[in-house]
Amino acid sequence: MSPTSAALTTAADTHGFLSPTGVEIAFLLVGLVTFGAALVTVTTRQLVHAALWLVATLGGLAVEYLLLTAEFIAWVQVLIYVGSVVVLLLFGLMLTKAPIGRSPDADSGNRWAALTVALAAAATLIWVVVDAFRTTWIDLDGPAAGSTRATGESLFQNWVLPFEGLSVLLLAALVGAIVLSRQAKATATEQPGAGAGTSTGRRTTPSAPSANTPSDRSTTAPAPSVREPSATDAPAPDAPAPDAPAPAPTEPGAPSEKEPR
């Protein structure tokens, strides 16, 4: 950020650009830590370390919210992001058997194109933002603009309907996540071709990898295709359409397999 001398003279009567206040220095230092942690997050080759550096980034952002006197947002950030989102990400890394330690293929082949795009976007954005707001100052004195009282009053006086809509969205996300996990699990367990007409109609794409594994080891494997990664590229999305209804009516052990579900 390098404002020209004209901007300096217009703003110098109340604020000096070259004499930053204590809040600005603190914001700058925390911002450097945050940005550095974000850079490590997107460049490290150890997947678990990326999640842990993401904690540093999100925590640094919470401190930035506190410096901007938005305390309620800061605590929501700590609770939701650091508390639950990162834990969810760590669980996801664990459940997908992410390698502990260095994984050499963490970065894609188009890394340099991505770097070019990101640098161009950064240069453009910073130029536009600094050019637009170089004489603008946030007044942080007086009562806090983002105290819990102010946020709550505005949220429950002016934003009640979107707030209730948001709860409906959260409910939809909850149901959606459960349906997504349940469907894959039901497909994996009832894989030997069990099922009446209703269940075969529902399992469309996920039944493709289970259809081409032999049925003798189907009772022991909850996720058959996990154990043979060589066959993971094989099933095409157009494969299940012809053979998904095929195993259902001809399997003799169908009712007994269907019972425990």
Binding site: A38, Y81, A106, N110, W137, I138, L174, S225, A236
Partner: protein, 129 residues
């Protein structure tokens, strides 16, 4: 505080997340980068809300309300995204988004041998059934 400080930090964080989305291979790392981009937007919203609440006497606090909405939607998004990633991992044995090319139109990588390898397996599935 100079408004350029949070704005520039937000732009930098957004571009870091953009790089991560474009350059990462693991689907969960892509989700982390999406979270970075959403957080950059949140910082912008909070900074401009604090500025406008003093400069323009704006009492609606729309920036902070939108920030709360963004945080909630990001939580929902990460839940659904992880459920999708886990379903894909269960079916394919990988969470590498470079290998999930079933809907790609390329002819050199997937193409003919792809169909050739699926055809016998479909026949085998029908035979075992």
């Amino acid at each position: 505080m100079h408004l350029a400080y949070p704005a520039v930090l937000s732009a930098l964080l957004f571009c870091t997340g953009l790089y991560g989305v474009l350059a990462r291979r693991n689907a969960i790392l892509v989700l982390m980068s999406v979270e970075l981009m959403l957080n950059a937007v949140n910082l912008n919203l909070v900074a401009f809300d604090v500025w406008l609440s003093k400069a323009a006497e704006e009492t609606l606090h729309s920036g902070q309300a939108l920030t709360l909405f963004t945080i909630t939607i990001a939580a929902a998004e990460i839940g659904i995204g992880l459920a999708i990633v886990l379903a894909v991992y269960r079916n394919r044995g990988t969470s590498d988004i470079d290998k999930l090319r079933d809907t790609a139109e390329s002819h050199d990588t997937g193409g003919p041998d792809h169909d050739a390898s699926t055809a016998p397996q479909a026949e085998k599935a029908e035979a075992t059934a």
